[in-house]
């Protein structure tokens, strides 16, 4: 999953990005409104964490303009806690609204909920044959036993599982599993797919030649 974090307070931005990356997300960052909007319009993020008080362009405006083009789930992060601010946020198109200071774990859970919802999944566990993908715990069980996966491997499994039945192109995978900080080596993806097949079974991920991958 690739997430965009737009926040002008540098320390906060840095720690959020680090924490999300450690959770296995690919994270892009922006520290002003214009850069944030530009990023949001350029890529299909799985979720956007958006601060309201930004220089150059504030969060409301970004949201409004973004919603004209994309349905990316947006979680607004703000110091404004009044009910009317929450109402405004949700009405303008945000999918969730979190008030600073916030608990990191709670933020993660809300992001997971956003992503799950946008993939039309209602539960936190996706069962694929013998394999259970636990979205909340962010691990995979096979036959009830946890399987050792790297963060990238899990991210790959999660993404394909959430788009189960769809064919996901390599480009999409690149866009959703790597952030702008990663060097794009196209065979890195193949390595991850191969590793997952080794751990979860060769049939786990199906290759559609010329199109992409999918989990059936």
């Amino acid at each position: 999953m690739r997430i965009l974090v737009v926040e002008d307070e540098p320390d906060l931005l840095a720690s959020l990005a680090r924490a999300l990356r450690e959770e296995g997300y690919a994270v892009d960052t922006a520290n002003d409104g214009e850069a944030g909007l530009f990023n949001a319009e350029s890529y299909d993020y799985d979720a956007i964490v958006l601060d309201v008080m930004l220089p150059k362009l504030d969060g409301w405006e970004i949201l409004r303009r973004l919603r004209q083009q994309k349905k990316t789930p947006v979680l607004m992060l703000t110091a404004k806690d009044q009910s009317r601010d929450r109402v405004k946020g949700l009405d303008t198109g945000a999918d969730d609204y979190v008030v600073k200071p916030f608990d990191l774990e709670e933020l993660f859970a809300r992001l997971r909920a956003l992503i799950r919802r946008s993939a039309n999944k209602t539960t936190n566990t996706i069962a694929i044959g013998d394999v259970a993908v636990d979205l909340a715990a962010r691990h995979v069980l096979m036959g009830g036993k946890p399987v050792e996966l790297t963060a990238r491997e899990y991210a790959l499994v999660e993404f394909l599982a959430l788009h189960r039945g769809e064919v996901v192109t390599r480009t999409q995978l690149y866009e959703h599993l790597f952030d702008e900080d990663d060097s794009t080596l196209s065979n890195l993806l193949d390595v991850h797919v191969s590793n997952v097949r080794k751990k979860l079974g060769a049939e786990f991920i199906t290759t559609r030649r010329g199109h992409g991958y999918c989990i059936e």
Binding site: D11, L12, S15, M53, L54, A79
Partner: protein
């Protein structure tokens, strides 16, 4: 506790006064009427006394005729013998004498009427000489000064008896009013009348006066109560509104229809006080919520940093980084807290400002020197034209003011820009200007720059907390000075501070 109510006190006093007035008036009226009646009666008594007296004024005779219907002149006293010196004069009068009343005198006394006039005549030695038939049985002899009687001769006696009797003050005796006189020989003539019916009439008058007075008193009290209530109603309205306001509803105001009366003015003053109170409360609430709001971000930084770092084992360098960002956040909160407290104290007037003479140009010079490194970093040049100006006040706080203005001028400047500082002392005013060549302040932001927490650039990335100019303004105003800003977007901004200068020469 009744006495605590103004209405009751008014009523009490008013009642007292009304009672006093009514009683005074009533008593006077009664006395007038009574006096009139008495004078009338006394006049009538007197009218009857005099004829009787004149009957007695004939000198006494020696022998009483047996038949008073004789033609002999009445009360003729024929001495039976010549008086002899050894005869006591009183003896001459001992002989009973006839008391014959001529008919016209008799007509004055209505003997058939028990309430009519009656008379009694006593001799010198208090024996009843004559009485009218309707005279009450027990009429005591009035006492009075008996004239000394020393006639030495019949002629003297005659003269004496012819003299006018001494008038005496009338007396009231029970239900009767009696007037009497004492003749020179010492006889007492009394005319009286039962005045029971007059007395009754007077009583009726008295009762009527009391009843009418009582009625007027009641009406007056009722009227006074009504008036007092009407007068007190505005006060009650004010009191009720004030109670509502003190209970928390600061939006209430006293309804005033009449603004000119004393109570209307009071209501007006109270209303404007309540309005100020409401505004002050609103400002305080705004301030408190702004302050809490400002603290959210640094706390958020610390929380996210620490939670993220503690999620797994980190290297020493990573821990150090986290600690440093926490420190930055904590410093930010410290600055915010200090600014807030300074503002709060300035607001409450609790900041004890020094009042000492100092040279403002020196303060400015020191600030410029301190900020030179920051200026060099941008880089921004500082040009200063400073006149030595003496002011009275707190040099340290005014240094804060200068530093704040200079810092803003440097930070909101372009690289290679300039900051011009001038200080002039003229007409008892010290004028300090700080001009920068920065981005300027837009027209809509301009009036609001001195507001608390107001930042023209709404984000927080510039590092300030939006209180610097508010504190600056508060300090300047605490020195009875003024601060203004003029700006042109794209060109720059100029802040002008005016302070009272010390009048004595530097």
């Amino acid at each position: 506790m009744i006495l605590n109510s103004i209405k009751w006190r008014l009523q009490l006093w008013y009642g007292f006064i009304l009672v006093a007035v009514l009683v005074g008036f009533g008593v006077t009226a009664y006395q007038l009427e009574r006096g009139r009646q008495m004078r009338r009666i006394d006049g009538e008594l007197q009218r009857r006394l005099n004829p009787l007296a004149s009957v007695l004024r004939q000198p006494p005779r020696g022998r009483l005729p047996d038949n008073p219907q004789n033609d002999e002149p009445p009360l003729q006293f024929r001495p039976q013998r010549q008086p002899r010196p050894e005869d006591a004069p009183e003896d001459m009068l001992q002989a009973p004498r006839s008391f014959h009343i001529p008919p016209q005198v008799e007509a004055l006394f209505n003997v058939d009427d028990t309430n009519g006039f009656y008379f009694v005549v006593w001799t010198r030695d208090t024996n009843v000489l004559a009485r009218s038939e309707n005279a009450p049985l027990e009429v005591p002899v009035p006492t009075g000064p008996r004239p000394a009687f020393q006639p030495n001769s019949p002629r003297e006696l005659r003269q004496f008896t012819r003299a006018l009797p001494e008038p005496q003050p009338p007396r009231s005796r029970g239900d009767a009013r009696e007037a009497f006189l004492i003749t020179p020989p010492g006889e007492v003539i009394l005319v009286g009348r039962l005045i029971g019916s007059e007395r009754k009439d007077l009583r009726v008058v008295a009762v009527t006066l009391m009843a009418v007075g009582g009625g007027i008193l009641l009406l007056g009290l009722a009227g006074g109560w009504w008036i007092a209530s009407r007068a007190m109603r505005p006060i009650r309205d004010i009191s009720e509104t004030a109670v509502k306001i003190s209970a928390g509803d600061l939006a209430q105001r006293i309804a005033t229809q009449e603004t000119e009366s004393e109570l209307g003015q009071l209501a007006g003053v109270l209303n404007s006080t309540f309005a100020r109170l409401e505004a002050a409360f609103a400002q305080q609430q705004q301030f408190t919520s702004d302050a809490a709001h400002e603290l959210r971000t640094p706390v958020s930084v610390m929380l996210t940093q620490t939670q993220g770092t503690l999620n797994r084992e980190r290297s020493a360098a990573e821990y150090r980084e986290t600690l440093e960002s926490c420190q930055r956040a904590a410093q930010r909160m410290r600055r915010l807290i200090e600014s807030l407290l300074a503002l709060a104290r300035l607001d409450a007037g609790q900041e004890t400002m020094q009042r000492r003479p100092f040279d403002l140009s020196q303060t400015v010079r020191e600030s410029i020197d301190a900020l030179q490194p920051m200026a060099n970093e941008r880089p921004v040049t500082i040009a200063a034209e400073l006149e030595a100006t003496r002011c009275v006040g707190d040099a340290e706080r005014l240094a804060q003011v200068v530093t704040n203005l200079l810092t803003n001028a440097i930070q909101h400047n372009q690289p290679g820009g300039q900051v011009r500082v001038t200080l002039r002392g003229q007409n008892g005013l010290a004028t300090l200007t700080v001009a920068d060549t920065g981005a300027g302040i837009s027209a809509e932001d301009l009036p609001r720059v001195f507001e608390r927490f107001y930042r023209a650039d709404k984000s927080r990335s510039t590092g300030g907390n939006g209180l610097g100019l508010s504190i600056t303004k508060a300090i300047v105003e605490a020195h009875s000075g003024t601060i203004e800003v003029a700006s042109e977007p794209g060109v720059g901004s100029t802040f002008t501070v005016q302070l009272p200068a010390a009048t004595s020469a530097a």
